[in-house]
Amino acid sequence: MSQEEKISRTILLIEDNEDHAEITQFYINEYADDIEVIWLSDGKIAIDHILEINGNSKRIYPWLILLDINLPKYDGHEVLLRLKSNQSLKEIPVVMFTTSNSNQDIETALKGGANSYIQKPIEPDEFASTIAKIIDYWSLNQHEIIVNNLNHHA
């Protein structure tokens, strides 16, 4: 199989903390080695990439977006809103990452359209299991729908 065929799921990770991104990536790959993790630290750039790719170069069809709430430039909520208001992007499930579990953030996130949310855990095993759960949750079928959607509305 070619590399393209082999990689069936793409997770877009929008995170500004390099360490956290690395950890997340490690655990994702440790759990499912067929997932490609694309890491972007800037929310705006991330959105452009998705849409941009639709136009010209290599397209990304994220099967899941992991979004950190605290981003330096574009706020996490902002990004979320952008994603969910875009017709072609809104089907993409978004899971919010936080370091706190303030109710306000959770509410805002879910109201904003986040499909789920997780708190960055401190326990190492927990991080792994959390990632595992997320991955399992979103089925492969979902991916097709998303792809179609993306193609339809591109």
């Binding site: 956290h20 330096p72 326990e123």
Partner: protein
């Protein structure tokens, strides 16, 4: 006027005054009616007396008439009438007049004299009647008889002359009787003289006869005749005297008395009429006066009541109304309610003072409320800040912890998978993140130490301060290629030296990190001022800061760029220090046009707390 009168007293006074006026009017009315009543009483009295006077007038005429009838006719009934009338008048007078009126007393006196005289008249007349009607006749007839007998006796011996003489005498006797009786009818005294003359004549004649017959034995009859004739003369004269007597009494004495009674009665009547008129006039004018008085006093009364009501309302009800409005407003919490002016020291005055106090308390309350709101706001803000702080802290502190534990997990997995080298390589990450956590905690502590610093304030010359600051960071500056310049006319500030240094320190650190200009990074420090503040600026020519981040950068642990070192606490500390200097810090910047950080200090002479 009535400074210390209590309300109650004033009202009572008013009522008393009103009551007194009413009482006065009532008294006037009563007195007036009393007088009127009196006057009417007098009128009645006078009327009765007048009535009596008129009755007396009438009765006196009647009494005199009856008296005259009695005198002329001798009717006993007339005499009785006289006494009857006298009784009646006396009784009436006694009943009516009692003590007053001298006139009535006089009338009674005259009346008594009148009746006394009348009694004499009665006496005389009775006697006279007796004399005239019986005695005279008897004597006359006796005389005639005896003479006749004598004539008879002497007829035999008498010559014609003697017989003629005797006849003449007899005729004379008859004449005398005629004259006498005529007198009592006509009351012409000539008849008395005739009678008397005739009697004298007869007496002379009889004397002559007696002497003639001196030789012969004197006829018994002649003697008798003479006797009787003498008696007759006596009786006749007596009767005449009595007649004249009672005529005089009734015509002169009694009529004078009667006239006096009439005169006095008339006087009484006239006087009474005058008196009654006077009383009528007086009563009328009195009633008029009273009516006028009552009407005018009613008017005055009404005016007084009106005035009084006005006074009361002015002095009591209006103040009460005003005060009520004031209190209502005050109860609603107003501190601007107008308190009406009230100078009298009574209950309303007390209320007014209370209102003033109330107002004051309201003001106090409002101020306290404001203070409390302020404090609450401050507290809320503090709480918010605190929350924010806690959130920020927990979030920022948590992040390195996640990193640390995350990598520890990875190390475990790698180690478990046998990738020992990879695992050991990851240890550096754990160390650095822990280190970072330690930094963060230190910076937090540092921030917390920025507390109240009034006591540590001193007057510092900024020029000197920055001079030494420049020297201290010279190496760093040259190393990084930054140029630092500052104005020479920097002011003196009354500040905490170390803290101010800290601000500059942090600003410099940030500038060195973020305000890099490829064409040469320059930092400039200068000063400006307003009326109340001193302004210091820290200007760079770096890439600038987008507007949306102008506030955020002063947030705790906020970093625009996570690449560089640092915990993002520098500006937060600066902000806190400025806050405690009662000043502020902010940034002015546009992308690609550098950034200017402003520090605002209140001027030293202003003692604001």
């Amino acid at each position: 006027m009535f400074k210390k009168l209590k309300l109650k007293n004033r009202i009572y006074t008013g009522f008393i005054v009103v009551g007194l006026i009413s009482l006065g009017m009532a008294v006037i009315s009563v007195v007036a009616f009393y007088y009127a009543n009196n006057n009417f009483g007098y009128l009645v009295q006078f009327s009765n007396k007048s009535h009596l006077a008129v009755a007396i007038l009438r009765d006196v005429s009647e009494i005199q008439r009856q008296a005259l009838i009695y005198t002329h006719e001798g009717h006993q009934s007339a005499a009785n009438r006289v006494h009857e009338i006298h009784q009646r008048i006396s009784a009436q007078i006694k009943q009516e007049s009692q003590q007053d009126s001298k006139y009535f007393q006089d009338i009674v006196k005259h009346l008594d004299t009148y009746v006394k005289t009348f009694k004499q008249v009665q006496q005389q007349r009775t006697r006279q009647a007796a004399l005239v009607h019986s005695e005279i006749r008897i004597l006359a007839s006796e005389a005639e008889n005896h003479f006749l007998k004598h004539i008879v006796q002497a007829s035999s011996t008498a010559d014609i002359e003697t017989q003629l003489n005797n006849q003449r005498i007899l005729n004379s006797l008859l004449q005398i009787e005629k004259y006498a009786m005529r007198y009592f009818d006509t009351l012409d005294s000539k008849d008395v003289i005739f009678a008397k003359n005739a009697l004298s004549q007869i007496q002379k004649s009889l004397q002559t006869i007696q002497k003639q017959d001196a030789a012969k034995p004197v006829s018994e009859h002649i003697l008798q005749t003479i006797q009787f004739i003498n008696n007759y003369e006596q009786v006749f004269l007596e009767a005449v005297q009595r007649t004249r007597g009672y005529l005089f009494l009734i015509n002169v004495v009694m009529s004078a008395e009667a006239y006096e009674i009439i005169y006095r009665s008339q006087r009484i009547d006239r006087q009474l009429e005058q008196e009654m008129n006077k009383i009528q006039q007086r009563t009328l004018s009195l009633m008029q006066q009273v009516i006028i008085v009552i009407i005018s006093s009613s008017i005055i009364f009404l005016i007084l009541i009106t005035v009084f009501s006005i006074l009361i309302s002015r002095s009591i009800t209006i103040p009460i109304e005003k005060l009520t409005a004031t209190f209502i407003a005050l109860a609603k919490g107003s501190r601007l309610a107008k308190i009406p002016d009230y100078k009298i020291q009574d209950e309303i005055g007390a209320l007014t003072e209370a209102a003033v106090v109330f107002k004051g308390k309201n003001k106090q309350t409002e101020e306290l409320l404001a203070q409390s709101t302020q404090l609450t706001n401050d507290l809320e803000r503090s709480n918010d800040e605190l929350e924010q702080f806690v959130y920020t802290v927990s979030h920022d502190l948590k992040s390195p912890l996640v990193t640390s534990m995350g990598f520890i997990g990875i190390i475990q997995k790698l180690a478990a998978a046998g990738k020992m080298q990879d695992a050991i390589d990851k240890l550096d990450r754990v160390v650095s993140s822990n280190r970072r956590m330690g930094q963060l905690i230190n910076d937090l502590l540092e921030l917390s130490r920025v507390g109240r610093i009034e006591t540590d304030k001193t007057t510092i010359d900024l020029n000197k301060l920055l001079e030494s600051f420049y020297q201290n960071h010279l190496n760093q500056l040259t190393h990084t290629g930054f140029t630092l310049s500052f104005d020479s006319t920097l002011p003196t500030l009354y500040v905490n030296e170390s803290r101010i240094l800290q601000i500059f320190e942090n600003l410099l650190v940030n500038a060195l990190k973020y305000a890099i200009n490829p064409n040469g990074s320059v930092i400039n420090i200068g000063a400006s001022e307003t009326e109340e503040h001193q302004l210091i600026y820290f200007k760079d020519n770096g890439p600038g800061i987008a507007k949306e981040y102008h506030k955020k950068i002063f947030g705790l642990f906020y970093r625009l760029n996570n690449d560089k070192e640092g915990t993002g606490i520098g500006l937060a500390v600066a902000a806190k220090v400025m806050k405690f200097h009662n000043g502020s810090i902010w940034v002015e910047s546009e992308p690609n046009n550098g950034a200017t950080f402003w520090l605002k200090f209140p001027k030293i002479n202003k003692e604001t707390d």
